[in-house]
Symmetry: C2
Subunit: 97 residues, 2 copies
Amino acid sequence: MFSSQRTDDDTDGYAEMSDRMFALAAQQPGYLGVETVHSEDGFGMTVSYWENLDSIRNWRAQAEHKIAQQQGRTGWYEQYKIRICLVETEYSFDKAD
Amino acid sequence: MFSSQRTDDDTDGYAEMSDRMFALAAQQPGYLGVETVHSEDGFGMTVSYWENLDSIRNWRAQAEHKIAQQQGRTGWYEQYKIRICLVETEYSFDKAD
């Protein structure tokens, strides 16, 4: 789970890098899916789902992703929190069911 | 973690109930905090943090919250997923540090 507050810095390739990271994550071993939502004030939450902790560690250490992380800290993000979580239970509701 | 897709149904007290649920959750034993973000297309993520599974179970069973859940299913939500997760590790970054 990645909760972030953006800076006002929109001019240096953030959108392209963000798109690239979603595409790259989806190609990694153990990737299960992602949910992401951003508000207009620059707060965002992105939750990516993975098979196990090793998949998460590998993604965290992926070379191109490491560069993105570094650019995130120097430019794009005011603050962020990363939480590594174990999904214990899942419920779903679908009106169409 | 509550990931939801709203219906177009904005006319029947959703905003008031949502405000009320945030306020009520914050009064429950074991409540630690919340993060929430919604996009304009009606997708939202709300993550509330709790001390332990018992706190989560109590909140889920709270009487007024049960009524809200029921109204959510009949009216406000097209789909939702609830995931009960254990936070294993947490990292934070703050540019001001």
